[in-house]
């Protein structure tokens, strides 16, 4: 069993917790988010005939009142950046977070998850913005915590990128 630390980052209320809650093993309550700013969950997957344990650091959303603690990022093998398709400003937060991560742990495998893909008609993310993302050469996945769309795949894809990176 190979263990990897994965961080889950994004603005507040983008659905980070909801996104992973249904698909992971959790023993801690959500209150840790508001107290120490992080909640730890676990996801076991099998990839290329090998077992992996992803320790997910669900880090509290970045906003004007609460900043992501750099220490929580250290040691991560990869990370998810999560935005809310219905809130354009969450992309701006992700850009800030990406910069913070790069400064703290350097270039590490990551995936950009555009959540709430089940209600695309309410999206504020338009094609221009998507183009901007593509230009950055980021891996993007459209997910829905509500329907479970691409959630499992996202874990597998990030794990694969991490293994590939080593």
């Amino acid at each position: 069993m190979v263990k990897k630390k994965i961080c889950v980052l994004g603005a507040y209320s983008v659905g980070k917790t909801s996104l992973i809650q249904r698909y992971v093993k959790s023993i801690f309550s959500d209150k840790y988010h508001t107290t120490i700013g992080v909640k730890i969950d676990q996801k076991d997957i099998r990839l290329h005939s090998r077992d992996y344990r992803l320790i997910l650091w669900d880090i509290n959303g970045e906003d004007e009142y609460q900043h992501v603690k750099k220490n929580y990022l250290i040691g991560a093998s990869g990370y998810f950046l999560v935005i809310d398709g219905t809130r354009r400003e969450t992309y701006d937060v992700v850009l800030e977070l990406k910069k913070l991560v790069d400064e703290t742990i350097g270039d590490k495998p990551f995936l950009l998850l555009i959540n709430k893909s089940d209600i695309m008609d309410e999206w504020e993310i338009d094609s221009i913005l998507l183009m901007d993302m593509r230009k950055r050469n980021w891996d993007i996945m459209f997910t829905s915590a509500k329907s479970g769309m691409n959630v499992e795949e996202a874990f597998r894809k990030l794990a694969a990128k991490i293994v590939e990176n080593e």
């Binding site: 190979v2 263990k3 630390k5 093993k25 120490i36 730890i40 320790i55 220490n71 929580y72 040691g75």
Partner: protein, 541 residues
């Protein structure tokens, strides 16, 4: 050859001129050392003794240089060690105070009450001073478990999530208290009820120990040493943690060294407690023995007293169920022995008698029974020089009754009745005179009894009946006489007829048998008269 002459000359000059050659080597030496270090451990092996010798020589020659060099390292270490020693000492003092007043034991009692666990179970759990249940070596950056060790009973699930959270909490604490804590300090102890979590921080890894019970601070340096040793040998490997525990199996023996367990040392019992206990026990035992012996003496005296008592034969004594039992024979005339028990200050309710009744032949009982049988003042029985002496004046009947009594009680031996006198009966003589005064007179040639004569005869007979009750050896004789001056023969016939008539009447009305006799006397005395005469036939003793 590829080398030109100029180059060969230059090489020769390096070899011949050491300074030049050294300068050339110095240029490549750092690179060469680094490359060799990466290649294998040979250089380390070669240089280590040399460096050690150099350090040793330096310390001997100029110790102040080494002291100055080590000061930045040693000073904080010494400071930390001293503070730890003081902390450890304070803990020991607290622990001693707590245990002396048994607050800990009271706490365990309350805990047992509220948790539902048995007191014995909790005491057993506390019988170990401490026990390191689980040891984790955690990668500092990722919070992932590098390797772990635990004792046989301890099992933890989801350790990776827990250790990750632990490192997150530690980071959080560092951030929150960043202004108050010194560089290098961090959360080092977490206490959850009886569980203590100790965290030792190394450069790349944390050593986390889950300890059950109280662990003295004095153990911390030992764990620090183990962590340092791990870093010394595997520092590089720890820095680049692969995420795979299997690659770090070689760390298990180090972690197993941390699974310490110390049994609670038996506290030295305070001698004064033992002395007080011993004195109390001695007093209790002494009191018990004293009362026991006194009670036994009382019982013994009671038994002795009973044995000496007439009419009592003790056959057995024993104790059972807090009662004292006495078995034996008791004269039928005896009743309670309560006065004996009272005299000996014995609670009579604790006495149980098992008596069989019997008749004692001891003189007091013989005398007592005799008095009961003959409650007459004139009859006395005494015991003198081994013989019973009956004395007094009795009538014939009483005399006979006394004799019968002793005949029926052969167990009463040596009876002397010589002093028992039959007293003269005045009534007897009176009756005799009365009978003899009642003569029966007849007219000439009359032989039948007239009414007056019959009345007289009845008085005579009834009185004689009474006399017979007093004295059996007595006879009533009716005597009459013939007239010799005239017709003697004829008179005798009449006299006989008269006696026959009397005999007939007496026989018809009384049952005297041979006690009444009739005689015709030859002696001339008085004519036409029958004389009733009472005659005692046997002389009294």
């Amino acid at each position: 050859m590829g080398l030109e002459t100029g180059e060969l000359l230059s090489l020769r000059s390096w070899l011949r001129e050491p300074e030049k050659f050294s300068a050339a080597i110095a240029g490549v030496l750092p690179s060469a050392i680094r490359q060799r270090m990466e290649q294998d451990k040979e250089l380390e092996k070669t240089l280590l003794p040399l460096i050690e010798q150099i350090i040793l020589a330096s310390v001997r020659k100029r110790p102040e240089v080494m002291a100055d060099a080590l000061y930045p390292v040693m000073a904080p270490a010494i400071r930390k060690s001293i503070s730890m020693a003081i902390r450890s000492m304070l803990e020991r003092i607290n622990n001693t105070l707590e245990n002396t007043f048994s607050v800990e034991l009271l706490r365990l009692r309350l805990k047992a009450l509220f948790t539902g666990k048995s007191y014995a179970e909790l005491v057993l759990a506390r019988s170990h001073f401490f026990s390191v249940k689980h040891v984790f070596l955690i990668h500092k950056e990722t919070g992932l478990v590098i390797q772990q060790a635990h004792d046989a009973q301890a099992t933890f699930e989801d350790v990776d999530m827990m250790t990750a959270m632990l490192t997150a909490i530690q980071d959080f604490v560092k951030d929150v208290f960043s202004g108050d804590i010194q560089q290098g300090d961090a959360l080092d102890t977490i206490k959850i009820q009886d569980l203590n979590v100790w965290i030792e921080e190394g450069a790349s890894a944390l050593l986390v120990l889950v300890v059950e019970g109280y662990i003295p601070e004095s153990y911390r340096p030992e764990f620090e040493r183990i962590l340092e040793e791990i870093h010394l040998h595997f520092g590089e490997k720890l820095r680049h943690f692969s995420g795979n525990e299997d690659d770090y199996q070689m760390l298990v023996p180090y972690l197993e060294q941390c699974l310490l367990k110390e049994k609670k040392k038996k506290k030295k019992k305070s001698p004064w407690k033992l002395i007080v206990l011993a004195v109390i026990l001695a007093v209790l035992a002494g009191s018990f023995l004293f009362f026991r012996i006194r009670e036994n003496r009382r019982y013994e005296r009671l038994v002795e007293q009973l044995k000496e008592s007439p009419g009592v034969v003790i056959t057995d004594t024993w104790e059972s169920g807090g009662h004292f039992h006495i078995a034996g024979l008791k004269d039928v005339s005896l009743h309670s022995f309560g006065k004996y028990a009272t005299a000996q200050h014995i609670d009579s309710s604790l006495l149980v008698f098992h008596w069989k009744p019997y008749v004692s032949v001891e003189p007091p009982f013989v005398l007592k029974r005799f008095r009961k049988q003959f409650p007459v003042k004139d009859i006395r029985l005494s015991f003198r020089q081994g013989s019973y002496i009956v004395s007094g004046a009795v009538n014939r009947q009483q005399y006979d009754a006394i004799k019968d009594y002793f005949e029926m009680h052969p167990e009463i031996e040596k009876v002397d009745v010589s002093q028992l006198k039959i007293k003269q009966n005045i009534d007897f003589d009176k009756a005799k005179r009365k009978i003899e005064s009642l003569t029966l007179r007849y007219k000439i040639n009359v032989t039948d009894l007239n009414e007056e004569q019959k009345d007289r005869l009845n008085i005579i007979c009834n009185t004689f009946v009474y006399m017979l009750k007093w004295q059996k050896e007595v006879k009533l004789i009716f005597v009459t006489y013939g007239n010799e001056k005239q017709n003697v023969g004829g008179n005798s016939v009449i006299a006989r007829r008269r006696l026959a008539e009397i005999a007939k009447y007496v026989a018809e009305n009384y049952n005297f048998g041979d006690a009444v006799q009739y005689e015709l006397s030859e002696e001339v005395e008085k004519n036409r008269t029958v004389f009733p005469i009472v005659q005692i036939t046997k002389k009294e003793n």
